[in-house]
């Protein structure tokens, strides 16, 4: 290091002394100060929510959002104050499923007020900031051309959804994640360090489980997000005409899946029921409208297990 001739000290020594002085005088860089304020805002907002569970899968099209809304309705039926944060910025479908597509996030001095849907469930989503049903999410400026910069923007947008939405006190926040295994989970794990864990959704196809395994390893080993368990969605179906049970996927076997062999607890199997999609399309609650169906029962069993998990975690 070049010598600082004026005092005979190296530049490193000078900088360290100055930084020490700044620390004593509590001088903070304005950029760092703002980042610290952002972190504090996230902590304050999340501190009012007792439990946070992420609903994830490395694979798209397995029914994460559908599982999320049905779990939300099941928990709400038990008296939980529930919120859903839709982190799928480009394909946000929670508001439509929850019947609040027409509403917008209302900006007030206390924060952005989430839409309140079925069973009093609060919803925040990018969709609630778009003008029309067919409006795509597009970022303006230089961000629109670069995947690198877009990642930074989306991180800030997710951070605002976590810190700026005025959820009020909640018992449970379900975070509906997009089908990606690498970029959004680290944001969530960094911003919500007290996440109760993740629920992994898959379907009984080898391809799905092949991909989901990769995300499980990533979440658990790299991000240290606890995996609460596995939900096998579209796990068989009942023929609406003859009532016969049938497998939707050719090689689906009733035994342990490859994911269970990794040690993941199976929270439940939800059979395919086209009324689940019908309710989602019309913003209705499937578990409330069709409570006696095998799929609704499966959601209740899964909710039992999740409830035990989070309550035991809280008491411990």
């Amino acid at each position: 290091m070049k010598q600082d001739k004026s005092e005979g000290r190296t530049l490193t020594e000078v900088v360290k002394d100055l930084e020490e002085q700044q620390k004593k005088n509590k001088v903070v860089n304005p950029i760092v100060q703002q980042v610290m304020e952002q972190v504090a805002a996230v902590q304050t907002r999340m501190g009012r929510i007792k439990h946070k569970i992420a609903v994830m899968s490395g694979k798209g099209g397995v029914g994460k959002s559908s599982v999320t809304v049905n779990l939300a309705n099941s928990f709400a039926a038990r008296g939980y104050k529930v919120g859903i944060l839709d982190v799928d910025l480009s394909g946000p479908c929670i508001p439509k499923m929850m019947g609040v597509r027409e509403r917008a996030l209302k900006i007030t001095a206390e924060g952005a007020q989430p839409a309140v849907g079925l069973n009093g469930i609060k919803v925040a989503s990018m969709e609630l900031m778009l003008p029309n049903e067919d409006s795509p999410v597009m970022w303006k400026g230089l961000w629109e051309d670069s995947a690198v910069w877009r990642g930074t923007v989306e991180m800030s947008v997710i951070r605002e959804f976590i810190s700026d939405v005025n959820w009020g006190p909640l018992d449970l926040l379900l975070i509906d994640m997009p089908p990606a295994s690498s970029d959004k989970p680290p944001i969530i794990s960094q911003m919500i360090p007290d996440l109760d864990g993740a629920v992994i959704v898959t379907i009984p196809s080898e391809i799905s489980q092949f991909i989901v395994k990769k995300s499980v390893v990533f979440l658990n080993r790299e991000l240290h997000i606890p995996i609460i368990g596995l939900i096998e969605n579209m796990s068989g179906a009942i023929c609406p005409h003859c009532g016969e049970a049938l497998e939707l996927f050719e090689d689906a076997s009733p035994g342990e899946s490859s994911l269970q062999k990794m040690g993941l607890p199976l929270l439940g199997r939800v059979p395919f029921d086209r009324r689940i999609a019908g309710c989602a399309d019309h913003g209705r609650s499937f578990v409330d409208d069709h409570p006696l169906t095998p799929a609704a029962q499966a959601f209740r069993i899964i909710t039992d297990t999740l409830q035990q998990h989070i309550e035991s975690r809280r008491s411990s």
Binding site: P30, Q34, L130, L142, V157
Partner: protein
């Protein structure tokens, strides 16, 4: 980043900032002991990343509004890329400036949408040539070329403007 005044062994303080052109900021720092000043001109890409954090250079003068960054970053529907570059709604830098001479001068208001700067047309061939620029820096290049055209009295980006700009930036 910070600057050290070697003479005084003192960190320089942020003093002021201004928009150098559509893609770069000039930020001035001064030594609080001897008053010596230096200015840095930001690199567009790096500045872009900082602005992506939703922070204001020099600190905030007013607290952030709820969902402020998201609302500023969302592209209004129906606004094409070409329109965006012309009205500088594309440029995120005005949003980064936390109360400054730049803002007070009214330039920021112009850049944030209601631009007083004339829109620059693009010839078909110039558009075609722009497509040869890698996509992740294309917006930067487009804005830079348009600024060059405006600064030099061109109402249209054509082959001549493209050649001159290329010469200027040494590509």
């Amino acid at each position: 980043m910070k600057f050290l005044c070697i003479k005084c062994n003192n960190f320089m303080d942020y003093e002021s900032k201004e928009q150098v052109d559509t893609l770069r900021l000039g930020i001035t720092f001064a030594c609080t002991q001897c008053g010596y000043k230096v200015a840095m001109v930001t690199n567009p890409g790096e500045t872009q990343l900082v602005s992506g954090l939703g922070v204001k250079i020099g600190g905030r003068t007013v607290p952030a509004e709820p969902m402020e960054f998201t609302r500023e970053a969302l592209k209004p529907e129906g606004q094409s890329t070409a329109t965006m570059t012309a009205d500088m709604g594309k440029c995120p830098f005005p949003a980064m400036l936390a109360g400054s001479a730049f803002k007070d001068s009214g330039i920021a208001a112009g850049l944030s949408g209601a631009s007083s700067e004339p829109a620059v047309r693009w010839t078909e061939n110039a558009e075609k040539r722009l497509q040869n620029v890698p996509s992740f820096v294309r917006s930067l290049a487009r804005a830079g070329i348009e600024q060059y055209a405006r600064d030099n009295g061109f109402a249209e980006v054509n082959d001549r403007v493209m050649d001159e700009y290329r010469e200027k930036v040494g590509m």
